[in-house]
Symmetry: C2
Subunit: 229 residues, 2 copies
Amino acid sequence: MEKMMTAGPDAAQARRRQRNARGEGARLSDEIVSAALAIIERTGTDEAVTLRAVAREIGIAAPSIYPHFADADEIVTAVVARVFGELTEAVRRGGETGDDPVNRLVGGCQAYVTFGLDHPARYRVLFSERESSLTRVAQYCTPVVIEPGERPVLEFGAESFSILVQALQNCVDAGASASTDVVEDSVAIWVGLHGLVSLRTTLPRFPWPDGIDEFVRGVVLSLAKVGVH
Amino acid sequence: MEKMMTAGPDAAQARRRQRNARGEGARLSDEIVSAALAIIERTGTDEAVTLRAVAREIGIAAPSIYPHFADADEIVTAVVARVFGELTEAVRRGGETGDDPVNRLVGGCQAYVTFGLDHPARYRVLFSERESSLTRVAQYCTPVVIEPGERPVLEFGAESFSILVQALQNCVDAGASASTDVVEDSVAIWVGLHGLVSLRTTLPRFPWPDGIDEFVRGVVLSLAKVGVH
DNA sequence: TGTACATCAGTGAACGCGCGTTCACTGATGTAC
DNA sequence: TGTACATCAGTGAACGCGCGTTCACTGATGTAC
């Protein structure tokens, strides 16, 4: 374990910050989450998110965090909530541009992968080991039920997964996909997208195929059973 | 970041160990790697692999590690080398049982996933962030060239990947797969397998489909372009 | 309109902990003569 | 066969560091009377 780089506050940050006005103390919560995200982006890992590091980043005293978060895990959890929102939004936008259900499905999947490859540290924290407290995260997200009455998906990230399921269902409804179990096939697609982002960012020196969007298209079409008769 | 559990040596370990005989000092290297692996299995993460924790585990003084490893990262790297060997062996055995090329391909892939799900901590360390020093790892593994003269794969894990490529090539040769680029399609398969292991172990509460072997079979057949005309 | 008080939004010093790393050392075992 | 010496395989105390957490505190702002 190499010595942690003391990425102390620079001169600008070290200048005494102005304290929040009365009743606006909650603003510091957002600042803490942003600081944690900045640390994750800079170091590439959430391991560097310590109470003291976050405090340094903002220019506050370490104990000032306690009224807002019980520990560093809670801060990381809040970061995960925020980043999942960003990812969901990216997938939603990516799935709006296509001119037919298949292209909208592919577009959403490509947006997912693009988000992951463009923001590897952000993406990685979503599935960090630190989230042993994944149940905790549930409080931040609305439970989404995929199929009425069964298979409730209470996990975090459920919203972007349900977008995927709906996109595949639209392909089936349009007669473009031969899928007979859209949830199971959506799981397969999600798993493929995640594996791609995860491995590409972890093993950049592997000779990955060129043309990531085309690669994703091929994988998604196979798993979505498009063009299978 | 919760306080690290002081998983000190139990009474048995605390008893003074017998020092290695002259000329057999290198044995401690293996003990150190085994101890690190034990810590990873127990805690579920390689973050807990510190020089002092490893020394405690074996019952030696912390500085005794230095003649064998420069730092904890080197120890983890050696663990990765060992576990990659285990994984490769499991995949090889899994790919020997099938009665035709397709079943051998599927068998190897199922063995990969089974290894990952049965040993989540071991699997996870293979793709740990800690391996920023992935180049370092290269010294432990023989470079494997997938196609003569091009696309050299120098990364760690190349051996198990090349088994996969060969298994798919055998399907193509037997006329069972419509793949026109076995390397690219092998990448897709690998990515899918990895994504499955990674997500299943990270999000155990997600409603995963039952029958993992059948699920893997379906994904692999789709991506291997088996049954596509 | 004045004033005592409560509350909010933090601060700063201190503590004990596990960590990596250094240093001089110890004691058994082999080897040259 | 005896003995001085070198080497091997570690040990144990000490150091400074960043960490989480506690404690009593400060100073501005609102509020009851």
